[in-house]
Amino acid sequence: MKTHLFVILFLFVAGALPAQTVDIKDLVRRADEKFRGSSSIGEFTMTIQRPSWERTISMKNWTLGTEYSLILITAPAKEKGQVFLKRRNEMWNWVPSINRMIKIPPSMMMQSWMGSDFTNDDLVQESSLVKDYEHRLLGEEKLEGYDCYKIELVPNEEAAVVWGKIFMWISKDELLWLKAEFYDEDDFLVNTEILTDIKQMDDRVIPTRMEMIPAEKEGHKTIMTFDQMDFEVPLEESFFSIQNMKRVK
């Protein structure tokens, strides 16, 4: 009798354990998807802050899953009309003023995008937060009044990922991604992302303001605000083509 009870209890506990790991991965997946949707069209404003100057760029963004995205710069005048296309892990840049299509080579992937604190690689984001990492729940913290899970993400051996480690804070209730810290392979903090201004956008509630703060540079910051977003819009893969880069408005 006692052995039976023991076995049953053991099974319960054993059953519960794998459920916990799936939970975290699932959590990250859902938070990530909430942010992106299966497709979207949005209007963003990016402000680059430096110790002695500040610059603002406006853009329109189309995404389809994690593989395709197209960005059209709408302001300022000198850069208006430039288009960036991402197809899987390749990136192109169309510069209308010189009538040139430039393919961004892998060597340029770590260079800053448009002078901001985001790199070309950040935009291309060929790595998936879900598939390419091992997730571990570190605990719970309170951020901006929200109860959050603190999750550690460690990249898989074969994954093509530039980070050594990422910490993510995801709110328990709405699964809002509120903060992330990116560490390099030597465990030095490289970037901090802080997301605020939780608002209703189309069919969901998401943070609409993202601050990217590089750790090593005093007074450097890039702020991205999502002014307008529509999710689950009908977009075809054919929209994300080089020819379309020259036509899109």
Binding site: V95, I98, N99, I102, S112, M114, G115
Partner: protein
């Protein structure tokens, strides 16, 4: 004294052969030394020219952070006040405002990293004679939208006059810089290295490309006389405040200065060896001369000549030998080197290629700076003075009895 001099002079020619041989050794020493120094200084002059005349100018005014960062964000606004302030100094000849940065340039299929120099055509030409270097097409005019590119670059990108060059870069405050421009002219830059990567643009056109409205990376300050450089630099440094700073070409190219100094030091060692050998040669002659005339000296002193007068005569004799040698050396080397500097020796074959690789024209250049010559004269004079001490001692210490028995 005049008698002593006369006697000394006549004594010299009593043994013509010995005198002439000694004088000849000094003569050749001076000639060779002057020749070598002239060659060295000539090549240094060319090296300095390469930096100063064809590129950086005597001094440049920058934003205080520019030299470290070389970033287009560390630029300063062009201001007439600054220009006036600098031009008010009498040593200053003229100024050239410039905006320099890097860009990627491409023709249809080929791309290369280039250095873009935005400048004002007329003053630029005054400093670097850029107009003379235009091999095809024409020089930039004011408000020209076109570019001048180096021959090496034109060859690599396979572009000719009126072809389009596309350039992209990051401009001021991170704004994308992108533009296409017609090639107005192709130049052969004095520096073979710059020839492969330089693009000249008219200043306001360049500022527009980089979205650096009215901004400059440097203000080139040219002075009337290069000897006044340090003085002018000190004055201007006092007058200029943050965020401006001024640098001389030596501060901008310290490697060049060090190269020249170390080469010069090597030359000094060679000359030192040469003069030591000559010095001992003269000493040898003087010693022989004294030994040979020992009896004569003994007699002179015995009959009443004061030792110091004998010493003086011998001193003058030594001095005369040195002076004749030096003078004749100079008299020959000055016209010779003047001719040589007008007609530098061309180098051919491998040596020429190596020179060009390092950015020099393949010639041996000669300098006719006065210092090349009077350095030799002074050195010979000093050596002779030192050697002339020997006969003085000898005359004063001479044992009369031994001399008479010689």
């Amino acid at each position: 004294m005049r008698t002593n001099l006369k006697i000394a002079w006549r004594n010299l020619w009593r043994n013509k052969r010995r005198t002439l041989i000694t004088v000849a050794s000094i003569f050749f020493g001076v000639l060779l030394s002057a020749y070598m120094t002239s060659m060295q200084e000539g090549s240094y002059e060319k090296m300095v020219d390469m930096v100063v005349k064809y590129y950086s100018g005597a001094m440049q005014v920058h934003h205080e952070n520019y030299w470290e960062s070389k970033s287009i964000n560390d630029t300063f606004e062009e201001s007439q006040d600054l220009n006036q302030l600098i031009l008010a100094n009498e040593e200053v000849d003229f100024v050239i405002p410039r905006l320099e940065s890097f860009a990627l340039a491409s023709s249809e299929e080929l791309t290369k990293g280039v250095m873009v120099v935005g400048t004002v055509p007329e003053p630029e030409n005054r400093l670097t004679s850029l107009k003379n270097n235009v091999r095809q097409g024409s020089y930039l005019s004011d408000n020209d939208q076109g570019l001048l590119i180096g021959e090496g670059l034109a060859d690599y990108l396979r572009l000719g006059i009126n072809d389009t060059l596309v350039m992209i870069s990051q401009g001021y405050h991170g704004i994308s810089a992108a533009g296409k421009y017609p090639i107005r002219g192709i130049i052969k830059h004095a520096s073979p290295e710059l020839n492969k990567m330089i693009v000249y643009m008219e200043l306001s056109n360049c500022q527009e490309f980089f979205s650096a409205d009215n901004r400059l990376t440097s203000l080139v300050v040219n002075i009337k006389d290069n000897d006044l450089l340090q003085k002018s630099l000190r004055k201007l440094r006092d007058e200029l405040n943050s965020p401006y700073t001024i640098m001389s070409w030596q501060e901008m190219s310290p490697e060049m200065v060090q190269q020249i100094e170390s080469d010069r030091a090597g030359g000094i060692i060679m000359k030192a060896v040469l003069y030591i050998v000559i010095g001992f040669g003269i000493l040898g002659t003087i010693m022989m001369m004294i030994a040979e005339r020992r009896r004569e000296f003994g007699v002179m002193i015995a009959i009443g000549m004061q030792r110091y007068k004998l010493a003086t005569i011998l001193f003058y004799e030594t001095l005369f030998i040195g002076m004749i040698g030096a003078l004749s050396g100079l008299l020959v080397s000055i016209p010779l080197l003047s001719f040589q500097s007008q007609n530098p020796i061309p180098l051919t074959g491998q040596a020429a290629l190596v020179m060009e690789d390092y950015g020099f024209e393949p010639y041996m250049f000669f300098s006719t700076e006065p210092s090349v010559f009077w350095h030799q004269a002074v050195t010979v004079f000093l050596i002779t003075l030192v050697i002339a001490l020997y006969p003085i001692f000898s005359a004063n210490r001479m044992k009369l009895i031994n001399a008479l028995h010689a």
